[in-house]
């Protein structure tokens, strides 16, 4: 999988990394059980600071997406179903985005359509 970051962007690099790795897993380009490159390798390939990659990995670990295993590195976890805590967290983080959409003139149906479109994007990739 190809990671693309924009160092000039307003979004911090570690968030760009985190988001792209999550998308990669959602699209099936990265599979549960596979490991991510070591912090040093990844940082060297991108030419960014090791702390940046480390921060992104810790973020992913906190979200429960990867597991940092000694010697194997960062391994992608599999999630057959969502637990209550995660559900609540996603609920809280989506709420302001949905509210923003409503305020900016999207209707409820359009919002559902939007979510469908994003899911479609994740599933269609090879």
């Amino acid at each position: 999988m190809i990671i693309r970051i924009e160092p000039e962007s307003e979004i911090p690099i570690y968030i760009q990394l985190t988001n792209q790795i999550i998308e990669g897993i959602a699209k099936g380009e990265l599979k549960p059980g596979e490991s991510l490159p070591s912090v040093r390798t990844f940082a060297a390939d991108l030419g960014v600071n090791m702390h940046t990659v480390n921060k992104s990995y810790h973020e992913l670990e906190k979200k429960g997406i990867i597991e940092i295993v000694p010697k194997s590195g960062a391994v992608i976890k599999s999630h057959p179903r969502v637990d209550q805590n995660t559900y609540d967290r996603l609920y809280e983080s989506l709420k302001p985005q949905i509210a923003e959409g409503l305020v900016l003139g999207l209707t409820g149906e359009e919002l559902v359509e939007l979510v469908g479109k994003i899911i479609g994007e994740m599933k269609k990739s090879p």
């Binding site: 190809i2 693309r4 970051i5 160092p7 990669g24 991510l36 030419g47």
Partner: protein, 367 residues
């Protein structure tokens, strides 16, 4: 003979130096990074042509004058070698001067065009690229190292056979022409230096392995091919060099222990000369192989509107890479084929300078 070797080396150097702009990464022109879309720009091409024309003309003129001087004055071999070394520096100096001249021109041209404002800068990494990165395993270096250690043991065992004067330098005829007093240390000194060199080359190979695979966002295919070719070819070239110098040093050590075996042996001349030719041939092969690795790909892959991250600010004077954020030990050269060290990473200094300092200490302090 001295003239032949001198002219051969000078021509080799002149051709390589003049051709450099055509063998570097395609998106870096005279140390200035340009977008993939402008690689075939007329101005960029004309600068490269002008560099080639000037560098080759001046170098060949210097070589010609050198040849005429030798023909007229018939100087001694030592003087020929001395002057040809000066001309080697002259050729390097001329190409550096031209490099800086065209670098300034490129910088002006680049700032006039405002590429950096129109194109989005993107850095990329391929998470699966390391499954295609075939580098020689580190333990193949054990083979030449075991030979060296074995020879040290053999020298200790045959200590009595060694002459009272240990050779330290060999002349063009293959016969030793400088000596040092025999002690248990001087007997194996050359092999210790060899062992340090082998360790340094192993360090270089590991440094390459643990350096980033830098891809170009606008042309993934070509840049990946170049980076993988560079890593693989330079690693094998490093090992090839180690094998050649191991052969050379082992031979010299054996002639010191058993001079009678190699009396009037042609090997004494053939081996140093052969090693020299084989290393030059390897260099040309590496230069062409890596230099062409990103030139053949199709244009279809190019993506508009994006360019690589403009990293010119990390290249001090256009030649020295200094990037504290990048954990890479080595990075690809900007002007030339091969690697240069990341001056912000101390590991690079240790790999290159620790063995060299140790060798100096060995030869100067202990003798």
């Amino acid at each position: 003979m001295a003239l032949f070797i001198a002219v051969f080396v000078l021509l080799f150097l002149a051709v390589i130096q003049a051709a450099v702009p055509y063998f570097v990464k395609r998106t870096v022109v005279f140390g200035v990074s340009i977008p993939e879309q402008s690689v075939r720009d007329d101005r960029v091409r004309s600068y490269k042509k002008q560099y080639l024309a000037w560098a080759s003309t001046v170098s060949f003129l210097m070589i010609l004058i050198f040849c005429i001087w030798v023909a007229v004055k018939k100087p001694s071999d030592e003087l020929i070698i001395l002057i040809s070394t000066a001309i080697e520096f002259g050729i390097i100096f001329v190409s550096l001067a031209l490099y800086y001249y065209f670098r300034e021109k490129m910088k002006q041209y680049k700032s006039g065009l405002q590429w950096t404002n129109e194109l989005k800068q993107v850095a990329v990494a391929d998470l699966s690229v390391r499954s295609e990165d075939y580098l020689p395993p580190w333990y193949i270096y054990l083979f030449p190292m075991i030979i060296t250690v074995g020879l040290i043991g053999y020298t200790v065992y045959q200590y009595d056979l060694l002459p009272d004067q240990i050779p330290t330098h060999w002349g063009p005829s293959g016969e030793p022409d400088a000596f040092t007093e025999k002690t248990p240390f001087t007997a194996v000194q050359m092999l210790l230096i060899l062992l340090l060199l082998q360790l340094m080359f192993l360090g270089i190979q590991l440094g390459v392995k643990y350096s980033g695979i830098k891809l170009s966002a606008a042309n993934l295919g070509a840049s990946k091919n170049r980076q993988l070719t560079l890593r693989k070819s330079t690693s094998w070239f490093t090992f090839y060099t180690v094998l050649l110098i191991t052969m050379m040093f082992s031979f010299l050590q054996l002639t010191t222990i058993h001079p009678e075996l190699f009396n009037d042996s042609l090997l004494k001349i053939l081996l140093p000369f052969g090693t020299f030719i084989l290393i030059l041939a390897g260099t040309v092969y590496l230069f062409v192989k890596v230099g062409r690795s990103d030139k053949s790909s199709s244009e279809l892959e190019e993506e508009k509107e994006i360019m690589d991250v403009n990293d010119d600010r990390y290249w001090k004077a256009g030649l020295f890479y200094f990037n504290k954020n990048d954990p890479s030990i080595f990075v690809e050269k900007r002007f030339g084929v091969g690697w240069t060290i990341n001056f912000a990473n101390p590991i690079g200094y240790i790999i290159l300078f620790a063995p060299i300092i140790l060798i100096f200490l060995l030869t100067f302090l202990l003798n």
